[in-house]
């Protein structure tokens, strides 16, 4: 059975609560600020929001439902999306269906995490028995394997990191504010070989959010919006692959582009999930921008700045903005909305009409489990 389309779904009001490296506040503080910023930007009272979607790691042991009491809201539709880097796409997909079905008129999708000085260590303590390397070690395995099998070099990964930093310099909320050269990238200290310092995201505190609502409602409200024209989600794909060199995008991309009535070549920009550069290369392949194993050549062929030949992670990506927990899964979505609604200021991609956002989440000891993608049009 063909699935129904996403006609009539508008995505609007991209909001970022400026990141900080460390915060003494709880996740609630970040989520509340995100929610109130959405209301302010949209000119809405909180009672107008009848759907709420929450993504957060550090909200625990509190819950999304606990947060409704904390925020004093009474939604008739509530979702909790604990999917890390896939949460932005997944939250949007579910909210879109709720709006289409009339279960909610306006859904606020919010993601936020705090980061205390000791948070990351405590998270990792339950993550890995092996050197407590956490995701650094897991992605080191994938990167080393990818380099060996497909001939990628550190310069290839470095090129992405350097281009993203150039993008970040035009994004006021990026935590990294100094230019990065390839020489600096290559000479950085090793963290988990072959990964070096600039291959690894920096954990921080922050929040991101947006609204999902009907297009007519968005017009009435007078908010600029993008339309959702295609989206996919897949978990634990290719489970029998001994090492993860592909994820669920490869299974579902045909359907994604069929829904959108557009192909990879039509995209004006792409926002990948980029906690480590190797996973961006994998997304470019699995989403059909090049063949499997061809991403190194693709990287050598393109520039990835907002004004370059293949605008990628135009706000700098997590590698240059910071990874605010679950909000990292929202970063690309919020940036895509800014690009498509003409709010990207100095980093605006010229004539951006069509953009692809990809998410990847919940890496365990050897692979990331969840992925998703969405195509938005203005």
């Amino acid at each position: 059975m063909t699935r129904k389309g996403y006609e009539g779904v508008a995505v609007a009001v991209p909001v970022t609560v400026p990141y900080v490296r460390y915060s003494i506040r709880a996740a609630h503080w970040w989520l509340a600020r995100c929610f109130s910023e959405i209301l302010k930007s949209a000119g809405l009272k909180k009672d107008a929001i009848d759907g709420l979607s929450v993504s957060s790691f550090t909200l625990a042991p509190d819950t999304a439902i606990g947060l409704t009491q904390h925020l004093g809201v009474s939604p008739r539709w509530l979702d909790h999306v604990p999917l890390g880097g896939a949460s932005g796409v997944v939250a949007l997909r579910r909210a879109a269906r709720a709006v289409q079905a009339g279960d909610a008129d306006i859904v606020a999708c919010i993601a936020g995490d705090t980061n205390h000085v000791d948070s990351f260590r405590l998270t990792l303590a339950n993550f890995s028995q092996y050197g407590a390397g956490g995701p650094n070690a897991s992605f080191a395995f994938l990167t080393a394997y990818y380099m060996r099998v497909y001939g990628a070099t550190r310069e290839d990964f470095g090129k992405l990191c350097v281009a993203q930093r150039a993008n970040a310099l035009e994004y006021p909320h990026a935590l990294f504010k100094k230019p990065l050269t390839l020489e600096e990238y290559l000479s950085a200290r090793p963290i988990a070989e072959p990964l070096h310092l600039f291959d690894c995201v920096m954990p921080c505190a922050g929040a991101e959010g947006f609204l999902v609502l009907g297009e007519e409602r968005a017009k009435t409200l007078g908010v600029a919006f993008a339309s959702l024209i295609g989206t996919i989600e897949r978990h634990n794909a290719f489970a029998s692959d001994p090492v993860q060199m592909r994820a669920g995008w490869a299974l579902d991309r045909e359907e994604l582009y069929a829904q959108a009535g557009a192909g990879p070549g039509d995209m004006d920009f792409v926002q990948t999930y980029d906690d480590y550069p190797v996973i961006s290369l994998m997304q470019l392949e699995d989403l059909g921008f090049c063949g499997k194993g061809e991403a190194p050549a693709f990287v050598r062929r393109h520039s990835f700045t907002h004004n370059g030949s293949f605008p990628l992670n135009t706000s700098g990506g997590q590698l240059s903005v910071g990874q605010a927990g679950a909000a990292g899964g929202f970063l690309g979505m919020v940036e895509a909305l800014r690009q498509l609604t003409g709010q990207a200021q100095a980093r605006q991609v010229k004539d951006a009409k069509l953009g692809l956002v990809s998410g990847f989440g919940m890496i365990n000891f050897d692979r990331g489990l969840g992925c998703g993608a969405a195509i938005l049009r203005c």
């Binding site: 990351f120 260590r121 990792l124 303590a125 339950n126 890995s128 028995q129 092996y130 050197g131 407590a132 390397g133 956490g134 650094n136 070690a137 080191a140 395995f141 994938l142 080393a144 394997y145 060996r148 200290r189 090793p190 963290i191 988990a192 070989e193 072959p194 990964l195 489970a239 001994p242 090492v243 000891f365 050897d366």
Partner: protein, 404 residues
């Protein structure tokens, strides 16, 4: 190449005990239970035979919940490796850089393992084994495909084992055949110094001269029933001992109605239970502080018990076993490995009426050295002990009847 540890400088920092991450789910402790015996076992589905990793509650393929633990050959291919130069964990921060590998086992699953320095870059054939780490929990290690002579010297591997090489060992009783075999085996294994205790030093005992000819051995008067003697010896050498092997034993025919009074039982308890207690109280605290000492590396305590402990015979044996378990629980937070050895009847004069097969003292000693080298926590040396263990695992009540 392993070098002799330098003398400790008391002015410099003493590395205090830290442990690697110890949290495990209950089902994951199956890996630990096998590793304690030196085995590498994974769950294998009873219904579809799929090998599972990490340990699971249901089969990933057919959803069966019948997932018995089965021995694994451990052969596989190294797909990828990394060297950690950073860790947020205190234990590993002290031990960086640290090498890890991603291994595709021939039996199906992909695992993360601590990677031995002798394994070449990927792709390479490796042999995966389970070891107890300093927290006493099972971890996987990927070893070179073929055994090499200096394999045990690997810096990372030595964090999981208590190889006697270049270590200082106390053997509490040098007067028995077992004690003398232990000294020979430890010397052959490269122990740097072996203190050998012997009670009643005014009496010369058989084997005394042979012991004195072992260049690493130093004989010391030690009577584990004498609290003052134990305390004084601990004050003298307690801060230097890396491995204690308590083999002191008072062994007589046991029973209740075939002997009168409590004197024999009291003598048994005084050596087998209180002797261990005295040693633990006097030597334990210093060893707990040394659990992380870079010079000591892995500190261990070996208790020679008896296979009869499986069926709670005899009372002094059960008391010693129970105390050894308590000692293990107290030593584990300090990263000190407590190895309990459960031999069947040893081929010595006090087992004159026990028919063969009996365990040769040399075989027992080699099993103990092997257990230290392989990081094994519960040792059942010899055919008799292995058979009784299998019987006990099959049906503990049946073993009780068979032994009584």
């Amino acid at each position: 190449m392993l070098e002799k540890p330098k003398r400790k400088n008391p002015v410099l920092r003493t590395r205090l005990p830290t442990l690697p991450p110890a949290a495990r789910s209950r089902v994951a402790l199956g890996l630990t239970a096998a590793a304690a015996l030196g085995r590498f076992e994974l769950q294998q589905c009873r219904d579809c035979a799929m090998v599972q990793y990490p340990p699971r509650e249901a089969c990933q393929q057919c959803l069966s919940v019948h997932l018995p633990w089965r021995p694994q050959p451990g052969e596989g291919e190294l797909l990828s490796s990394t060297v950690l130069h950073h860790s947020n964990d205190l234990f590993f921060r002290e031990r960086l850089p640290w090498r890890l590998g991603l291994v595709h086992l021939d039996s199906g699953p992909t695992v993360v393992a601590h990677l031995h320095g002798g394994v070449p870059p990927a792709p390479a054939r490796v042999r995966v084994a389970a070891r107890l780490d300093r927290a006493g929990q099972a971890v996987l290690v990927a070893l070179p495909e073929k055994e090499t002579s200096s394999m045990a010297d690997d810096r990372q591997l030595r964090e999981f084992t208590c190889d006697p090489r270049l270590r200082k060992v106390l053997v509490t009783d040098g007067k028995t055949a077992t004690g003398q075999a232990l000294v020979q085996a430890l010397a052959a294994a490269g122990a740097e110094l072996i203190w050998v205790g012997y009670a009643e030093p005014w009496k010369k005992f058989p084997g005394f001269d042979e012991l004195n000819r072992v260049s690493q051995a130093t004989l010391l008067p030690l009577d584990v029933t004498d609290s003052k003697n134990v305390r004084e010896l601990a004050a003298e050498i307690g801060g230097k001992v890396d491995i204690v092997v308590n083999n002191a034993e008072h062994h007589r025919a046991f029973g209740i109605s075939n002997r009168s009074g409590v004197e024999a039982a009291r003598a048994e308890m005084d050596v087998n239970y209180f002797g261990l207690l005295r040693l633990a109280q006097e030597f334990g605290p210093a060893m707990r502080l040394r659990g992380a000492d870079g010079l000591a590396n892995a500190v261990a305590w070996v208790n020679v018990l008896s296979i009869y402990a499986l069926a709670n015979f005899p009372p002094h044996g059960t008391a010693a076993h129970s105390l050894a378990q308590c000692l293990r629980a107290e030593m584990r937070p300090a990263g000190v490995r407590v190895v309990n050895v459960f031999p069947g009847p040893i081929d010595d004069e006090w087992n004159q009426l026990v028919p063969p097969p009996k365990l040769a003292a040399v075989a027992l000693a080699n099993a103990i050295v092997g257990a230290l080298r392989d990081g094994i926590e519960d040792v059942y040396p010899g055919d008799v002990a292995q058979e009784w263990l299998a019987r006990w695992r099959d049906n503990p009540k049946a073993l009780e009847r068979e032994l009584s």
